[in-house]
Amino acid sequence: MALPHTPIPPVQRLGARSPRPTRLLAGAVLALALSLGTAGCGGSDASSSAPAVMQQTPDYGGHAQHGFVALPRQAGTVPAQQFTTMAGHTWTFDSVKPRELTLLYYGYTHCPDICPTTMADLAAAVGSLSTSDRTRTSVVFISTDPHRDTIKQLRLWLGQFDHSFIGIRAPIQQVVTTAHHYGIGVTPPKVVHGQYQVTHGAQVAVLGPGGHQLGYFKTLTASHDYAAEVHGLLAEGK
């Protein structure tokens, strides 16, 4: 059941540059409200929900270019959570086998822009791989909106991109914790100014054998770039 999209009341001119005092004031109030709003969406409320692990998240910097960004070799444990896929199978982060890759995306289905575009790009990329590469590459989508993303919805939605994509619906706190491990700061859905707002990752994480992260792609990477990098990583035997 979709929650209502309630428009927020009209706001004063965004980005007004007039020096008139009333506009300056309106702009300042708006800027303050927006900064508080995004901070809220980022889960940095004092009470928080921002788990300590976020402090250790690698800082990927402001505006990474499209394409693949490799990370330093990741040692240590991967998340221990055990999930059930929409097909009813058990899936764990360490299930990535030797010489295989998993492309991992945290998103939600009631999303008209980044989430379906990312999945469409990944579907085009995976579809262009050789059979050998394709059998060694998995795409996993973990929902950041388990309330609306039922198993039935996941199957329907993912199936329109690629029937081999693995969909996972899990309790939101486990979703958030595991995402944070891979440096993706999604937070639980919340209602803001009457709108039900959900977060999604701005990256596709690349997991190598054992679930250790090899790197990531910024979303909106071109499908041929996804494919070329996946092929390259597989060829290197990562």
Partner: protein, 212 residues
């Protein structure tokens, strides 16, 4: 005429005929360009069908001081409660004062909202409905994947590449424009400037009506 040895250019009549061909070609294509930029024209009939699904022409139009370019709808996405899609375009404002896009409606959608993608920090984002998309004075704003976009929900039917989607835009200066958008593939739609389609001579962009 095969190329000849040094000292021999092409005969004058060949050069002239090639120039005439080039001139005629230029004249033949010019109305297409004018049509692309036309504002209060009713481009009657149907646009020339795209030969392939790869790059149907996007829409460009004028609404008052706002120039709309490369407007298109992405292919729709099915959910258990209906289909939705996103619409993208670039908006350029030639006026000395800001003008905002304040609403969008479509006969194909039960609801249409203006949205922005907001960085929530730590490599995550959220989408938020906004009341307006401002186009700065003598400036531009692009509705693109990952940025501002128009979200259309409750579509009457799925939208595939090659379909059309009607969309009415209303601006803060009370100009309204009806667009007939082409539906384009989502794949690689985040790859920067798609202005190439409009610089070429790809035929009529579709019916455009201006209503004041």
């Amino acid at each position: 005429m095969r190329s000849s040895g040094p000292g021999q250019g092409r005969p004058p009549d060949v050069r002239l005929s090639r120039a005439v061909v080039a001139l005629v070609a230029g004249i033949a294509f010019a109305p297409g360009l004018a049509g692309c930029a036309g504002s209060s024209q009713h481009a009657g009939g149907h646009p020339a069908p795209s030969a392939s699904a790869s790059a149907p022409a996007a829409v460009s139009a004028e609404a008052g001081t706002i120039h709309i370019d490369t407007a298109y709808a992405a292919t729709s996405v099915r959910s258990d409660d209906g289909s939705m899609t996103a619409v993208y375009m670039s908006l350029t404002n030639s006026a000395g004062t800001q003008v905002s896009l304040v609403s969008a409606t479509s006969s194909l959608a039960t609801s249409v909202e203006l949205h922005n993608t907001v960085d929530t920090g730590n490599n995550a984002e959220t989408m938020t409905a906004v009341a307006r998309i401002p186009v700065p004075a003598r400036g531009a704003v692009k509705l693109t994947p990952g940025g501002y976009h128009i979200m259309a929900m409750g579509l009457a039917h799925p939208l595939h590449v090659g379909d059309r989607m009607p969309l009415t835009l209303r601006f803060s200066d009370h100009h309204t424009i009806h667009l007939d958008l082409p539906v384009r593939s989502r794949v690689d739609s985040g790859q920067g400037d798609d202005m190439g389609d409009m610089k070429g001579m790809k035929g009529m962009p579709g019916m455009v009506l201006v209503v004041r």
